[in-house]
């Protein structure tokens, strides 16, 4: 689109002017220049208040943006995203909490029985005592899974809650709500908190890696 002083309606104005001049010329082959000037002034007067090309472009973009927002609001309303916060995420976090509770109870039961075996082993001698102690040691070691899985689940719950907050923010901003409340998004985790939790096996350092790292300080 042309920039500068071109006015919206100039093209229309020119064609109107041409038409009027043609009409005048047809009716009055020897048209009075004053009459032509009057016609030109009249056409120019109709252009008062028109937008510049740049302003028209911005207006068109604003109109388009308005239509996009209206469409997004309608789509968000149709999707019932608030159900995610009201139902899905609370359900998921409750389920995960239940997993922690159930596995904790099971682990406690295992440990209690393992301690009983330890007491029995204390009354034995020889190979049987050794075998029993090795077995209980392995059970104790394996039971630490509960701590690791608990921490992993806590991380997942944290992620779900972050999603919940963002969904709430989107719904309150774009959704067909009353619109007053605006949620502040949770701050990003403090980079220096160092509470990273258990790492997935592919990313984790094992004990030998840690030993090497520690040794590098000596």
């Amino acid at each position: 689109m042309a920039e500068g002083n071109s006015r919206l309606g100039s093209r229309g104005g020119a064609s109107t002017l041409a038409a009027r001049l043609a009409e005048i010329h047809a009716r009055h082959p020897t048209a009075d220049p004053d009459m032509v000037a009057e016609v030109v002034r009249s056409v120019l007067a109709t252009m008062n208040g028109d937008l510049s090309a740049k302003e028209a472009s911005v207006l068109a973009e604003v109109e388009e943006l308005g239509r996009t927002i209206a469409t997004a609001k309608a789509e968000i309303a149709a999707l019932e995203v608030d159900v995610i916060n009201v139902s899905h995420i609370p359900f998921a976090t409750d389920e995960l909490d239940a997993i922690i509770a159930h596995t904790a109870a099971a682990t406690d039961a295992i440990l209690e029985n393992c301690e009983t075996l330890d007491r029995v082993a204390a009354g034995l001698t020889g190979q049987a005592a050794t075998q029993l102690q090795v077995a209980t040691t392995r059970i104790y070691e394996a039971c630490s899974f509960q701590d690791i899985t608990g921490q992993r689940i806590t991380k997942v719950v944290g992620a779900l809650k972050a999603i919940e907050a963002k969904v709430e923010h989107i719904v309150s901003t774009f959704g067909p709500s009353d619109g007053e409340a605006r949620l502040s998004l949770p701050q990003a985790a403090d980079a220096v908190s160092l509470l990273n939790g258990p790492q997935l096996p592919a990313a984790a350092m094992d004990q030998s890696d840690i030993d090497k790292l520690l040794a590098s300080f000596d």
Binding site: E115, E141, Q146, Q151, N196, Q199, M205, D206, L214
Partner: protein, 128 residues
């Protein structure tokens, strides 16, 4: 010279199951004088009030983390030489470096086994 296994060991974890596991593993290697604390503040109180030969602490606790507990211990004139082992799922390089810089004696990553625990204790107590 052998390790004095009658020494008091303080284990710190906000997760009871883990305290129970570590206590049982210590018992199997003949450390029977074990006390427990469920957070950093409680641990610090016990350390200042008692006489311990070793601290084994988790990192991920609230409100005082294991790292903060370690820093408090190292800043305390009476406790600063206390052997301190971190047992944690925090296995990122930055964590190990931060713990080392704070003065950790050794670092065990979860999940761990009894042999690793025994080995690190011996190393920390000067027999590794």
């Amino acid at each position: 010279m052998s390790i004095d296994k009658s020494m008091s060991v303080l284990i710190v974890d906000d997760y009871k199951t883990m305290l129970r596991i570590i206590r049982n593993l210590l018992k199997q290697i003949d450390f029977n004088n074990v006390e427990e604390a469920m957070d950093g503040a409680e641990a610090l109180g016990k350390l200042r009030a008692g006489s311990f030969g070793l601290v084994i602490s988790d990192w991920n606790m609230a409100p005082m983390t294991g790292l903060q507990l370690l820093q408090e211990v190292r800043a305390d004139a009476r406790l600063k030489a206390m052997p301190f082992i971190m047992i944690t799922a925090e296995s990122k390089t930055e964590n190990v470096i931060a713990a080392k810089q704070a003065g950790v004696s050794n670092y065990i990553v979860k999940p761990f086994n009894a042999e690793t625990l025994r080995e690190k204790i011996e190393k920390v107590l000067g027999h590794g």
